[in-house]
Structures are given as structure tokens and as C-alpha cells.
């Protein structure tokens, strides 16, 4: 065990423990704002994981987009719906236990499956490592290439998806000018 590996392992365990602790807190806290913050913590740690798995560019994107964008959006939502002050009450006994059992069940099943199937390890060989260094260029090239392995089509589809979500967001949440009649409850017969 080289020193470097030792440090690597130490980092892994520390970060893993923190991630799981923060996740549990995010899920359990009563105040919604606090849970958003905990979520931010988990995301940052996972960015660190990405670095450990030498996906540096991804870590950057994660921090920028995920933490910067989505979490902020979550906070806005909390502000807009004025639920930050309101203390969220505990879920009913049954729902809680049921949820717990399902969560634990899921976890045990996945563990059982993981440890029963033989994931033959592809040892880290040299070729992979140097590749990792210029990963951004490779990602960029693969992203837009139209040959066999490329994802140009997916890229275009993603752009449309984002456009639609923005359009949808606007349509659904735009303010109705006070002039119009308030939306009356209508049922189709």
C-alpha cells in the first residue's frame, strides 16, 4: 500500500461518511432551508468524488451547474412558497415506517445483487490513466461527433429539452394580470 493509495483511501472514507451523514440530515430535518443546504453539501462532496475518479471537468460542471444553479433554484422555490418559516410536521407513523422499510429493502436488495454478481475488475492500466489527463478534449470531441460512438443527436435533443422546460416553466408560472377573471373551478362533465 503506497502512501498515495493510503491517502486516497482515507479521503474516500472520510468523504463517504460525510456524504451519507449529510444526506440523512437533508432528508430528516424539519426546516426545508436547512435540508437544501445539506443537499448542497452532499453535491459538493460528490463533486469531490468525481475528482477522485479523475472526472475533473465533471466535478467543475457539478459544482457550477448543480450546486450553483439547481440548489439556488430550490431555495427560490422555498422562498416563493413561503414555507421556510413553517415547521414541517413529522410524517404519519405508518408512512414513516413504510418509507423506511422500502428504503432499507431497496438498499439490501441492491447490496445483495452487487455482491452476488462478479464485477470482474478491469485493473487500472496505464493506457487509461494518460487518457484521463486530456479528458475535456475527448469529451468535447465525442459529444459532437456524428460517427459511431458520438452523441451529437443526444446533444441536440438535450438542447430542445432544456428549451421546452424553460418554455413550460414560463407558461405555467407566469403571473396572470389582475384584469382577467380568476380561474374558476371547472370540471369536464
Amino acid at each position: 500500500m503506497t502512501l498515495e493509495m493510503l491517502v486516497y483511501a482515507a479521503f474516500f472514507y472520510v468523504f463517504a461518511f460525510c456524504a451519507i451523514l449529510l444526506a440523512i440530515c437533508a432528508v430528516v430535518t424539519k426546516r426545508i432551508l436547512r435540508s437544501a443546504v445539506y443537499l448542497m453539501g452532499v453535491l459538493l462532496i460528490s463533486a469531490a468524488f468525481y475528482v477522485m475518479l479523475n472526472a475533473q471537468f465533471l466535478a467543475g460542471v457539478q459544482v457550477l451547474v448543480y450546486v450553483g444553479g439547481i440548489v439556488v433554484l430550490l431555495v427560490y422555490a422555498v422562498m416563493l412558497t413561503q414555507t421556510s418559516q413553517v415547521l414541517e410536521t413529522l410524517p404519519s407513523r405508518i408512512r414513516n415506517t413504510l418509507g423506511f422499510f422500502v428504503g432499507v429493502g431497496f438498499f439490501c436488495f441492491s447490496l445483495w445483487c452487487i455482491f452476488n454478481s462478479d464485477l470482474t475488475l478491469i485493473t487500472i492500466n496505464s493506457k487509461n490513466i494518460n487518457l484521463a489527463t486530456q479528458d475535456i478534449r475527448a469529451i468535447g470531441k465525442k459529444l459532437l461527433s456524428t460517427e459511431r460512438g458520438g452523441y451529437a443527436v443526444a446533444f441536440e435533443v438535450l438542447s430542445i429539452l432544456l428549451l421546452v422546460s424553460v418554455l413550460g416553466g414560463i407558461v405555467l408560472a407566469r403571473k396572470i394580470s389582475p384584469g382577467e377573471t380568476s380561474p374558476k373551478e371547472t370540471h369536464v362533465g
Partner: protein
């Protein structure tokens, strides 16, 4: 004794460790999804799940894949998550206008 732990073959974080970690996160996400009352809380736990999925992809990419596809997939997952959150937020806000609360348990006007 400590040394023995450090040198044992299972100490260094192999693929199994990563997978356990990501499925732990996923399970916590699911638990959160099933028990939080606040709609945003549900969203948060969903983000947890998606993030653990992305992590899973990167892990598999690192250990078994060709070191690029997994990352691209993670990238796309982040983008899609963003799109979802936008739409979810819009609907929550719309919901809030009517019910003055986004407590999911009260939204059962249509049932049986």
C-alpha cells in the same frame, strides 16, 4: 492491528465500495421521497437519487467503461435534472397559488 486493517485487500476503495456508497445515497433519497411532506423536500431527495445515479455512471465508467461515455452521461443527467427541477418548481408555484400550501398530503382532491 491498525496496520492489518490498512493492508487488508479490502481496505483500498474498490468498485464495490463505490457501488455501496451510491446505492446508500439512492436509498436515502428514496426514503426521503417517500416520507417528506413538503413538495420541495421531495424534490431535494429526488436530486439526491439523480446525483447518486450520475455517481454510479462515473464509477462504472472509471472501473469498467471507456472513461468518456460515463462522464458524458453524467453531464447529461445534470442537465436533465435541471430541466426537471424547473418544471417541478413551476408546478409547485402554480399549486401554491391555489392551496396556499405545498404539503403533498393535502393534495388528494381526486381520489378513489
Amino acid at each position: 492491528m491498525l496496520a492489518s486493517i490498512f493492508n487488508s485487500p479490502y481496505f483500498y476503495p474498490s468498485i464495490y465500495h463505490w457501488l455501496v456508497l451510491s446505492s446508500a445515497l439512492f436509498s436515502i433519497g428514496i426514503y426521503g421521497f417517500l416520507t417528506r411532506k413538503n413538495a420541495v423536500g421531495i424534490l431535494i431527495s429526488l436530486e439526491l437519487c439523480l446525483n447518486s445515479g450520475a455517481l454510479n455512471f462515473v464509477v462504472f465508467d472509471y472501473f469498467r467503461g471507456n472513461h468518456i461515455d460515463g462522464k458524458i452521461m453524467a453531464l447529461f443527467i445534470i442537465a436533465v435534472a435541471a430541466a426537471e427541477v424547473v418544471i417541478a418548481m413551476a408546478i409547485f408555484v402554480g399549486m401554491f397559488k391555489h392551496k396556499k400550501t405545498i404539503d403533498v398530503t393535502e393534495m388528494n382532491q381526486m381520489r378513489n
